[in-house]
Amino acid sequence: MSEMKKSTVAVIDYGMGNLHSVAKALEHAADENTSVIVTSNPAVIDAADRVLLPGVGAIRDCIGEMHNAGLVPSIKKAMAEKPFLAICVGIQSLMSHSEENGGVDCLNHFQGNALFFGEKHIDHDGSKLKVPHMGWNQVKQTINHPLWTDIPDNARFYFVHSFYVVPENKSEVAGTCDYGLEFCVAIARDNVFAVQFHPEKSHKDGLQLYKNFLQWNGKP
């Protein structure tokens, strides 16, 4: 039997805690030839076949910890050359700037900003909407993309967030959601895909998205 090289996916650990669910969901979606490595080591990220950038907590801490841990060069390198998926605050960290924490400059991979829904967010009919946007909402797939394979259009995913991204280049929007306004919840360019929701908490469709990521060759 020929020896098959294991494919590796690096889950970037920049000290913001709870990566258990992300790692377990990836393992659940992975086949036997894939290993999931939770790491804060730039060399491991550089050597991985795919990279996942999770995000929890506030944006200032996220960006600060990425810099402190010396991970930004590896993150940028990965985004330049291999399948890369960012989730939740991860998508916000890839934008130019976020309104959170009084304004924070982000990694500027996608041009555009992360904006606050506002504490007085209202629905189309004028009724009050709760912030954070918490729970299961429908995601409209605005482009065809390998990461949407076998996921029905308007499938529900689990969200928890108070800020949303507004990319300047609308052709980069891969999915949208409606919560008082239609906003971008998935963004894609070349080998980089990022989502606002939590695939690891979104049951079957979330696991399918991870499976698609693990099979993705990085081509749109």
């Binding site: 805690g17 709870n18 258990h20 669910s21 377990k24 969901a25 659940h28 929890v56 907590g57 506030a58 504490e119 007085k120 967010h121 629905d123 009050k128 709760k130 912030v131 954070p132 946007h133 918490m134 729970g135 299961w136 909402n137 429908q138 409209k140 308007n154 529900r156 689990y158 969200f159 928890v160 967030h161 409606d178 919560y179 690891e200 908490k201 979104s202 049951h203 979330g206 696991l207």
Partner: protein
């Protein structure tokens, strides 16, 4: 199209096992929290909440292992409440795979704990649990107070004001239990649910008193709750989560089916 209202089954756990009989057909071990969580997940639960009633703090390690085991197999949001008193308690639960923790009595005795927890871990994972009881007499303006110790000890705190304060301190969600209704099967206290839901900008979970599926509908439509939590109607096989979601959908409520 839009955000769905949520149904959250709640399980009591003691020493890593589900207690208060949970009866499902063809389930081998109704006390195994992984099996129970998987079953509710298959039925379409939007989240699952565990209330840790373990008496000794030494046994909490068992709860941590339980959360790890569930989070490795059930991919929907998990909340753990009961006995959360320190940031270290929260850190352990989140690292084990819990998405949110519920803080109850500790918030009443030390509100600053909520602020500290929200700053350190983010509001999105801090649920403040409020046990409220009606204290106004008939004919008077409605008034509810916070009670501790299973509804036995009054605190003198106004429930609506307390909820607002907890949100100001960083609570990302309020779990509101009516101690008058808990266990009665007479339905939620819709008055306090609506008063708090309209007073705060974060989601409110209604709890206490569910006896049938119409109560769940009322909680959302009249109580303005963002999510409804129930235990016994699901545990004893009276209703499945699918049935509950269908009834709520028929009533015009947006649900994840």
């Amino acid at each position: 199209m839009g955000l769905a209202k949520r149904i959250i089954p709640c399980l009591d756990v003691d020493n890593g096992r589900v207690v208060k009989g949970v009866q499902f057909v063809d389930i081998r071990d109704a006390g195994d929290p992984v099996e129970v969580a998987k079953r509710y997940n298959e039925q379409g639960a939007d989240e699952i909440t565990f209330l840790d009633i373990t008496a000794s703090s030494d046994d909490r390690a068992t709860t941590v292992h339980m959360v790890e085991a569930i989070a490795s197999q059930v991919f929907i949001p998990l909340t753990v409440g009961g006995g959360i008193r320190t940031c270290e308690d929260i850190r352990r639960m989140l690292n084990a795979g819990a998405d949110k923790v519920g803080i109850n009595t500790a918030a009443v005795f030390n509100p600053e704990f909520v602020r500290e927890a929200a700053q350190r871990f983010g509001s999105q994972c801090i649920v403040v649990a409020i046990d409220a009881k009606k204290v106004s007499a008939e004919g008077e303006t409605d008034k509810w107070e916070i009670f501790t110790h299973g509804g036995r000890k009054p605190t003198g705190l106004d429930a609506v004001e307390w909820a607002k304060k907890m949100v100001e301190y960083g609570a990302g969600e309020i779990l509101l239990t009516s101690m008058d209704r808990d266990g009665t099967k007479n339905g939620f206290d819709l008055g306090v649910t609506r008063a708090i839901s309209e007073a705060v900008h974060v989601p409110v979970i209604a709890s206490g008193g569910v006896g049938n599926l119409d109560h769940l509908v009322d909680g959302v439509i009249e109580g303005k709750a963002d999510a409804v939590l129930a235990a016994s109607i699901f545990h004893f096989g009276e209703y499945s989560i699918q049935e509950a979601k269908q009834r709520m959908t028929d009533a015009g409520i947006e649900m994840r089916l």
